[in-house]
Symmetry: C2
Subunit: 421 residues, 2 copies
């Protein structure tokens, strides 16, 4: 590789980082892609791994395989610990560092407990493959322990599964878990009836899917309740532990609690010593650069940018992709001598959420869809967006199998917590 070429270092091979790298194809640059994982994760389908519908390898691909044809890209597995803005170097955990001409931080977000980190052991969130296999293990173990438990109260607590947070992830988890319990596992136990399992979705606000149009929130709630989910609105969770969860004046004994209530950005702001919002997102300039460092861009869930209407750009895959494309264009323009700032404008394509395997809610703004048609549209869209052809095929087969047999393919409990398997 031509060492003399302008060196773009990209940290994070999520939707934003990959889109940026794609859009830089053919540009007079050399690229180093650094990620602490060896795989790109298709997060929109992560909840399906957590609920035994898909295998881990169906929604994750080796980054260097995705970029294998790009001889201008070097992929490194490494843990970034800081950025030397003056020396223009990215610092890695192993003590080495990588020099850059342009730096793009696309390091995403983790789930957050807003001052209640002590809740994490009892209520795992869903951001990584390990999170998904941990949740999968907890859900399946609850039923296994229920089958052995003789005390009725303890058994009911084992068969009560709580999801905290009524956003798309919470809704999708609740809908799939209730199907898993009432449909997939039915008839396989001798001492419990899995249809007695309670799935409770707790949302602090006054409706689920708050970003969607109100009628879609109402539809999604009805659809969940039809599946057997109990939806609790308007009372935030004030305490949770191994025994259960407290919201308002209700104490609900539950041995399985899942966290879908909030995220915080990666430590990029700390690395840069930059100003961040409450969720640790870097406050970027309209052109997505870091104030004072025009050669450093922050995109995706790690960036905080307001839209003309004053609302923040949402932390969704399309926003990250649009920002990746935009920054790539900015880099190319600069190399061509055009250094004028290029403000980013977010185009909102719409919001989607599935409710079980029969219904979905889609809000394109100009049109709103619900029911089985929306579900199929959602499915086709997601299969289309799956990067790798073979995974499209594998996921399509897995889904058709589940759709027609109700059986799920990845019902594995592997030992130890923290996401083995």
């Amino acid at each position: 590789m031509d060492e003399a070429k302008h060196h773009v270092v990209v940290v994070g091979a999520g939707f934003g980082g990959l889109e940026l790298t794609r859009a830089l194809a053919g540009a007079p640059v050399r690229i180093t892609m650094i990620d602490k994982r060896n795989h790109h994760l298709f997060q929109p389908l992560l909840y399906q791994v957590a609920t035994t519908s898909l295998a881990t390898s169906e929604i994750a691909w080796p980054i260097r395989h995705l970029l294998r044809k790009r001889k201008d890209v070097t992929t490194l597995l490494g843990n970034v610990t800081g950025v030397d803005r003056a020396g223009k170097r990215v610092l890695l955990e192993d003590g080495s560092s990588v020099a850059y001409d342009t730096l793009v931080l696309a390091t995403g977000a983790r789930h957050a407990y807003f001052g209640h980190d002590e809740w994490e052991p009892f209520a795992p969130g869903l951001k990584t493959l390990e999170d998904a296999t941990t949740i999968r293990r907890r859900i399946l173990l609850a039923f296994e322990e229920g089958e052995r438990e003789t005390d009725p109260a303890k058994r009911q607590a084992l068969l009560t599964l709580v999801i905290v947070g009524g956003g798309p992830t919470g809704v999708e988890l609740a809908g799939t878990i209730v199907e898993l319990a009432h449909d997939t596992l039915r008839g396989e136990f001798r001492n419990i009836d899995t249809r007695q399992a309670r799935v409770v979705l707790i949302e602090a606000g006054d409706r689920i899917l708050a970003n969607f149009a109100p009628e879609l929130s109402a539809y999604a709630q009805k659809a969940l309740e039809r599946l057997g989910v109990t939806v609790e609105l308007g009372r935030p969770v004030t305490h949770l532990d191994a025994e259960g969860v407290v919201f308002g004046d209700t104490h609900l004994p539950a041995r399985t609690i899942l966290w879908a209530a909030g995220v915080a950005a990666s430590p990029a702001a700390e690395w840069l010593g930059a100003t961040a919002d409450r969720a640790a997102r870097v406050l970027v300039e309209p052109d997505l650069t870091v104030p004072g460092s025009p050669e450093i861009f922050v995109i995706g869930d790690t960036a905080h940018l307001l839209r003309p209407d004053g609302k923040p750009v949402p932390g969704v895959a399309p926003a990250a992709k649009q920002q990746g494309k935009h920054v790539a264009a900015t880099i190319k323009a600069r190399l061509a001598g055009d250094t004028a700032p290029r403000p980013f404008r977010y185009r909102h394509d719409g919001d989607l959420a599935t409710i079980g395997k029969r219904a979905a809610a889609i809000d394109f703004g100009w049109i709103k869809l619900t029911g089985w048609l929306a579900w199929w549209l959602w499915g086709i869209a997601h299969i289309y967006f799956l990067i790798d052809f073979r995974n499209r095929l594998a996921v399509t087969l897995s889904w058709l199998w589940i759709y027609f047999t109700g059986q799920r393919s990845a019902r594995l409990i592997t030992q130890g917590d923290g996401g083995k398997g």
Copy 2:
């Protein structure tokens, strides 16, 4: 379930335990199946998970799903810690116990280091899904670290992968790993040439596949060497650690060492206070009962039984299945009033091993097969033996994909050691 019925407790849902349960269908008994995992594992293909060819869920199925139609069977996830022979109870880790009329122990084997347990952290073996994902992680990390490593000696150590033990597992691991390095990963790295990776198979004896006919051992060795594997014979490993392995007077620097050199039985002998052989296998009567306890059977890798020719019954899936069937027949005969001892006779069907994705060695005794024909036969046989139709389909697709593209579907490094992912 009719509590009055004769209660058969089966510990272990491997090939032996499942075959026994199947063969007891319709018998006047109720069955409790206890396993410490929730899944049956198709161990003959475990090396393909370790080498990124198959996903974990393609070779493992929930036990209670396999037995869902058997209303006479209760499946329990539980860890057996002992057997009360006088009180006829199986003791579980959680303090509870299960009474039995007839007990069948089919608890299998673990890999063993023969007095060198300190080697385990440096040379993981391959018996569980976690073992497989640990090995997968180590292999992939070696190349990732090699891409970052600048010291030539350290880099060579990272690109040297050692397999200890020249049995079928060692041969299959070596052949697949060398293909992974030289074929699958080729062209995806910028600082290393994965074709420079060295794969070394170390066997203490004078030939690999010692149970096979000598000409097949010679064929397998040539086939491995053609793929690029270095085969070292006649010198046992005397030391190994994080830096490498010592055999004879050779010290080979290697950062990835895999253990395929031996197994020891589960602690069943301890639970029973029964006599065991060097590998901890229970010395059973000709009818597979435990001396002094005709109501307790031990089958599969946990049992030690000599054949008429003085050779022990091998620890392979067909032997475990035959013993499961035999014990089921004995139980039925007893319930019908025929209590005469029924000695077990092992029928040897043959030995198989694959070498990479183009060759295999099959020894049926009366006929010996090698080359691509043997490979296809092996593949068809294994797909046939896969229990669940959907997995047959999934595995077939995965294999055809690998066969024609050289690409593997499960190249995931997940965090933490001990088999996450």
